[in-house]
């Protein structure tokens, strides 16, 4: 039987980088394959070629035996290739039905045939067990429900091959398990799926076959039943990588204490009577799915937001609202969640990004001390292993991992007393994750109090002494890391910490 999809010898270069180097793969009907690889391994490039958004330099793609014309997105959709991106392409002000039907009708037809659309949507929803309300406004739905709409939107175009790019990045682990069950059901009904991820457990649990990409090449292919996490990790990185794990330590005095803190923004309560305390030499993990109040919490402690109520004590003293300069002067280091839009100014030089937040230290009578800035930047780059050229180059030329190491370096080289680390390893490849974790643990050993805000369960469990969940702007009571497992944290992340406490 002809495979539904054949990719033959596809290559694609950007400048001197071989993003895809002679990749061939096949996909059978009703099969789920996973593309596993680090950032920059070429997964997304390959899928962009499949969907017609990039033209390959060489190689061909066949769908059910017929050659797919390269670089033609419309032809790819017509051939039955559907994409579900990590960042949804949905309009929050439209209803579910309107979102699903967008782009499926001719612009020139006088009216939209919503009755037929609704019938088709409900039929798909029943067939694949993806429950949605067609008339709900998309913006009112949870992220998991929005993803269901995104999948239905692809199915609505009569897909035969569904590609999901990092589908679990925005989900809680409970929502993710639902998704996997749905995907398996879809495969049983005859759909073929390609599933892009860098998370090993979910790849092993869901896919029939796993293809590992590294540096643009297809380096290995394994049946899911015949491989192990350790083997896949090594194949993905190209060498054995182990993430560091914290060792036991005795925390010192409380340096930061929040009592009953609320933060109102644009008429919405972003933080609701939040309480936490943080000690010297410990890591407090704040686990939760993005968008539950992590941003305002980090902004409040980093000096870019003001609270509307509650008390904050810094080193035992009650304080008002911090400015950025206050926070830095008090010894608070800050790693922002969005390193490209907050952490650095991409068009500016590396050394300028080092001095910007401490401009007072590098300024003499209003003039910037460029020499001192360059010297410090080069010292940080050497000490924190930031690769990518001299300190005078624009920082946008650095890779994500190197940018993050620079941000870490500009904070840690000053030995901060408190470190607010928001999603410090998000989007980094396995080697960079290990480096970032090692630095955070080294800071902890040196007595820094670390507030780790993250949505990665493995990261939080590996680094934290105590863990609190953040849900809808509320913080759960802390649990000791020793007593926490994925299931219990999953319940806490779902807002169910009362039950989690009872269960303990």
């Amino acid at each position: 039987m002809t495979p539904i999809l054949e990719i033959e010898h596809v290559s694609k270069s950007f400048g001197t980088t071989r993003a895809n180097d002679d990749i061939s793969l096949t996909l059978a009907q009703g099969e789920i394959i996973a593309l596993l690889g680090e950032n920059g391994a070429g997964k997304t490039t390959l899928m962009s070629i499949l969907s017609g958004h990039y033209t390959p330099d060489s190689g061909i793609i066949r769908v059910a035996g017929a050659v797919l014309p390269p670089g033609r997105p419309r032809m790819a959709i017509r051939a039955g290739i559907g994409m579900v991106y990590q960042h949804f392409s949905l309009a929050p002000n439209l209803t579910v039905l309107e979102n699903v039907m967008t782009g499926t009708e001719s612009l020139w037809s006088p009216r939209s045939n919503t009755a037929a659309g609704r019938a088709k949507l409900l039929a798909l929803s029943r067939k694949f067990g993806l429950a949605v309300d067609p008339d709900a406004r998309l913006g009112d739905l949870s992220v998991g429900e929005q993803q269901r709409v995104e999948i239905l939107k692809a199915l609505y175009n009569d897909v035969r091959i569904l590609v999901l790019d990092e589908p679990t990045a925005v989900l809680t682990n409970i929502e993710a398990e639902h998704l996997f069950a749905t995907l398996k059901g879809m495969a049983r009904q005859g759909l073929s799926l390609i599933f892009i991820s860098h998370k090993l457990p979910e790849v092993m649990a869901t896919a029939d076959r796993i293809l590992v990409l590294r540096g643009g090449r297809l380096v290995a292919e394994r049946r899911a039943a015949e491989t192990s996490r350790a083997e896949l990790a090594e194949l993905m990185v190209g060498r054995a990588v182990t993430r560091p794990v914290r060792d036991a330590a005795t925390p010192g005095a409380v340096v930061l204490e929040l009592t009953d803190v609320t933060l109102r923004e644009a008429g919405v309560n972003r933080l609701k009577s939040v309480g936490l305390h943080l000690r010297e030499g410990e890591v407090l993990g704040i686990i939760g799915v993005s968008g539950n109040g992590q941003k305002p919490l980090a902004a409040l402690l980093g000096g870019t937001a003001r609270r509307s109520g509650g008390e904050v004590r810094l080193f035992g003293q009650p304080i008002g609202n911090l400015t950025v300069t206050d926070a830095i002067a008090a010894g608070i280091g800050r790693i922002p969640e969005d390193r490209n839009h907050e952490g650095v100014v991409g068009e500016m030089a590396i050394w300028e990004n080092v001095v910007l937040e401490r401009i007072g230290d590098y300024s003499r009578h209003g003039f910037v001390d460029r020499q001192a800035g360059m010297a410090d930047a080069e010292r940080i780059m050497a000490e924190f292993d930031v690769r990518g050229g001299g300190a005078a180059r624009p920082i946008r030329l650095l890779s994500g991992g190197n940018v993050q190491k620079l941000i870490l370096g500009r904070n840690l080289s000053r030995r901060p007393r408190i470190l607010i680390a928001a999603q410090p390893a998000r989007g980094l490849d396995e080697g960079a994750v290990a480096a970032v974790h090692e630095r955070i643990l080294a800071a902890r050993r040196a007595g820094t109090a670390v507030l780790l805000i993250s949505e990665d369960l493995d990261e939080v469990m590996a680094l934290s002494d105590r863990i609190q969940a953040i849900v809808g702007g509320r913080l759960s009571p802390p649990v000791a890391a020793e007593g926490a497992d994925a299931r219990r944290l999953g319940l806490m992340m779902a807002g169910d910490w009362m039950e989690a406490e009872d269960a303990s």
Binding site: F14, G15, T55, G71, G302, G303, T304, T323, V324, T325, I328, R334, P336, D338, H341, E342, G343, V344, V345, G346, E347, M348, E352, V355, L356, E357, I359, S363, G366, F367, V368, R370, L397
Partner: protein, 349 residues
Amino acid sequence: MRLEPRDHLPPWLALATPLIAVAAALALAGGLIALAGAPVLRAYGLIVTEAFGSRLAATETLTRAIPLILTGLAAAVAFRARLWNIGAEGQLYLGAVAAVTVSSLLIPDWPPIVQIPVLLVAGAAAGMVLLLLPLWLRLRFQVDEVVTTLLLNFVAVLFVSMLIDTVLKDPMAFGWPQSLPISDNGMLPRLVARSRLHVGLVIAVALALVVWFVQARTTFGLQSRAAGLSPGGAVFAGVPLGRTLVLVAMISGGLAGLAGAVEVMGVKGYVTTDLSPGYGYSGIVVAMLAGLNPLGVVAAALFTAMMYVGADGMSRAMGIPTYIADVTVALSLLSMLVALFFTRYRIRR
């Protein structure tokens, strides 16, 4: 064929971009000259000789370049911080009227050494005020300053028109709508005898150097660049966004107001509603051609002034409408925008 972002812009390309853009504009305008029935190369040759071929022509071109340098700097400073000041024309008129008012009504008898600086400051202050209003609206209510600064141009010019027809009207002007003159003590000295070229040129070039130095070397320059390139990154690094933009607006509006004061104190001595043939708008072209570089502004202003002065002479000699200068300058802005796009993207097949 598709576009892919460049990861790196080589320095030679950054320098060549405005030259390529100007060449493209000249080639396009050449088509129009040919259409008008004149030999293209001789027409461009005439533009150059008419602009620089004699002492008189050269001084005239430099005189034209003075307000263009200042309005070009005004636009470059603001655009670099992503403050879209399209209102240099109105700020220029208010600056001119402020200089005239202070000189003719308040301090006509003060000696030049005191009066000239006071008038320059008055002109700059008037331009600042006119830009701070739209900035306040943006910071307070998120009103788009492109719209407000652009529309304030018309308000400002009509306001000036009203003044020179009423309180500032010159009774000696035989009923022409023209303002009271700057007192003789307030006029800028000539730089070259028997020409119109005045010391405004020194002021403008010096300010270009100062602006370059401030942007490249000072804390404020670094912060305003960060604020323009990435507001989110600037706020996170503790740059006071509002205060930085207020300072940028004061410099930008001040430079545009100064352009008006310098023009009225250096050339005409009184304000009419045709004081500026669109210097405020041409300043935007100058700034873009210069890639927002303050030193590049001086070169771009010279090119633009050359086109205007040279085209005047060429049209007399060859019977081609002088509009060819406006067309060429406008085309060079358009081709510069296209060229800037290709500094960020490359074409792949």
